[in-house]
């Protein structure tokens, strides 16, 4: 039996083979997988480019002129802010129907997103993408932000924005990694189940205060690990798992006969 044949019968052979197959498949896929959607044909202006992108990726559900179909609502009047939010967080294009459109890796880059936004904004007047100053957390009042967040946001998103449950499988997502721009746009446009917080309800200054509060939460907790900031349920879980676990372990050690 030669060396290679001997190694074929080694007890790790199946595992090595499996690993090679997995790595091989992954490499082939990476090499051959289609890249992100590219614009069909370059246009002179953003609106035109956006229209092409729209027709290729959105019109099936939203209609060729954004007027809406059975599968998707009308986009006339939602404004550039709504498009920027939905597309830059990857919620749109929707991958599968379900109770909610989850955030996922965005399918379009920043330029394409801006083109789509420009096109949809051209369909009818709507909220614009906020400026940098409007979402600059350092200009916001954290205390006022907390007061507003508690009244308007905490019941869905949790006191520090860790997320929460809605009915029927829907949820309010966690805000830990949301950018200040998308937070502003979400308040302004009210995506999916979220209500619309127009500028009469939460003024632009108040929105910036809310953003300042959310960003301040990312410093963590002064008491140690925050355990997900989920409240007493996770505290109870850790009490049993860590607290009672350690103590019962010590009790077993104390009661064991010494060797």
């Amino acid at each position: 039996m030669n060396a290679l044949a001997a190694r074929r019968h080694h007890r790790f052979a199946p595992i090595v083979l499996l690993l090679l197959a997995l790595i091989g498949t992954g490499s082939v896929y990476a090499a051959l997988a289609p890249s992100r959607a590219t614009a069909a044909a370059p246009s002179a202006n953003d609106v035109g480019a956006g229209q092409n992108l729209f027709r290729a990726n959105c019109a099936t559900c939203h209609g060729m002129s954004g007027q809406g179909t059975k599968s998707g609502p009308s986009l006339i009047g939602v404004g550039a802010a709504a498009v920027d939010f939905q597309v830059s967080t990857g919620r749109m294009p929707l991958a599968a129907s379900g109770p909610q459109a989850p955030a996922k890796p965005p399918q379009f880059d920043a330029q394409q997103t801006a083109q789509l936004a420009a096109y949809v904004a051209s369909l009818g007047p709507g909220p614009a993408v906020p400026t940098g100053a409007q979402v600059d957390a350092s200009k916001g009042d954290v205390a006022n932000g907390m007061a507003l967040f508690r009244t308007n946001c905490a019941m869905c998103h949790n006191a520090v924005g860790a997320g929460g449950a809605l009915s029927g499988g829907k949820y309010a997502p966690s805000l830990w990694s949301s950018s200040s721009r998308t937070i502003y746009e979400a308040m302004l446009t009210g995506p999916q189940s979220m209500p619309v917080f127009n500028n009469a309800n939460l003024t632009p200054v108040e929105k910036r205060d809310v953003i300042a509060y959310i960003e301040a939460q990312r410093a963590g907790s002064p008491g140690g690990a925050d355990l997900g900031s989920l409240g007493p349920v996770s505290e109870g879980l850790w009490t049993w798992v860590v607290g009672m676990g350690l103590l019962i372990g010590c009790a077993v050690w104390i009661g064991a006969k010494s060797s």
């Binding site: 009915s167 189940s193 209500p195 917080f197 127009n198 050690w253």
Partner: protein
């Protein structure tokens, strides 16, 4: 009669072999010596380990004191976290090591031969009982209580009634004015402006767009004598629906304004604020026990432990376009209580 079922998995031979009916206790197992009993080096090692653990505790205490004086909580989250961590770890080492040292000492160095002690029945002996009964009898005779029923009755009555001197003022004063009818009314009146919580800005009907949700408090809340008490009953949710989606009862047609409806925010289950609004389904969800109300249909319950719909606040618009209440709610807000409908 009872159906005693004996196990019959092994058939016992009938030859009357003389084995006892039950097994007997084999007695204490032998003592199994420890390493430190047998090997003086192991004994010394255990002693050094105990000493080291006590030393570790001292280190912990010292670390705690250093952290206390040298690492104040400061003004940032990070500095507070560091102070908490260092103090806590010092405390942990200080305490845990003492415990570990004591336990290790007991397990490896102390004499661990098991011993046995007798239990005596807890019941007192018959003589003791008889003597106790006799003493009680003597005492009863000495008390001259005898067959004096009136005496006994008087004593019992006095003793039973006396605690009222403490109980009545304690209970009576604790409930303030006991005026439970206040539960049936809120501070909303005809003409009270609806304002935004917490800023107090009044709301124009035109500001309320379809899909928006306003958290509302009555105008003048902060000027009341007990703002939080009033707020607990007066909080309101304001939403605008497409009038085509709105189903209104005949006697409530005038309570909304062009698709804008106002409902009490106090859950009719046990009183939490019903604050979650799902814009697309126009459902209000209470986060405490998941009662769900349909705003488009009189805020009736569609899921969860609540039974009654949320009370509706009748609203209209004043001359300047601001939303105002037409009157107080037409029923008590909040959880159900006994005399709610009276």
């Amino acid at each position: 009669m009872s159906k005693n079922k004996q196990s019959r998995d092994v058939s016992v031979p009938d030859d009357g072999a003389d084995v006892p009916a039950r097994f007997t206790d084999p007695g204490h197992p032998e003592y199994r010596p420890r390493q430190s009993d047998l090997d003086p080096a192991a004994d010394k090692r255990a002693e050094r380990q105990v000493v080291a653990l006590f030393g570790l505790s001292v280190l912990g205490t010292v670390g705690f004191l250093v952290a206390y004086f040298a690492v104040p909580p400061g003004n940032t989250v990070a500095s507070m976290r560091l102070s908490n961590l260092l103090l806590g770890l010092g405390l942990f080492l200080a305490m845990f090591s003492i415990g570990a040292a004591a336990v290790h000492w007991s397990k490896s160095l102390m004499n661990v031969h098991e011993r046995s002690e007798d239990r005596h029945p807890l019941r007192s002996s018959d003589q003791t009982r008889a003597a106790a009964v006799e003493m009680l009898r003597e005492g009863a005779t000495d008390s001259a209580l005898g067959r004096r029923a009136v005496l006994k009755g008087a004593m019992v009555s006095a003793l039973v009634l006396a605690p009222l001197t403490v109980a009545v003022p304690l209970i009576g004063n604790v409930g303030a004015d006991w005026n439970v009818s206040k539960l049936k009314h809120t501070m909303w009146r005809k003409g009270t402006k609806l304002t935004i919580d917490p800023s107090g800005r009044p709301i124009k009907a035109a500001d309320v767009t379809v899909g928006s949700l306003f958290h509302v408090i009555p105008d003048g809340l902060d000027k009341t004598a007990h703002p939080l008490d009033e707020k607990a009953k007066a909080i309101v949710l304001l939403v605008r629906l497409d009038p085509r989606d709105l189903t209104e009862a005949a006697d409530r047609k005038g309570w909304s304004y062009q698709g804008i409806v106002a409902y009490s925010k106090v859950c009719t289950h046990v009183g939490c604020p019903v604050a979650l609004y799902e814009q697309q389904t126009h459902h209000l969800l209470c986060p405490c026990h998941q009662s769900t109300f349909d705003v488009a249909d009189g805020a009736k319950v569609v899921f969860g432990p609540a039974k009654r719909p949320l009370p509706q606040l009748p609203i209209e618009v004043d001359a300047d376009g601001y939303l105002i209440a037409q009157s107080d709610f037409h029923e008590p807000v909040g959880p159900t209580f006994w005399e709610r409908l009276k």
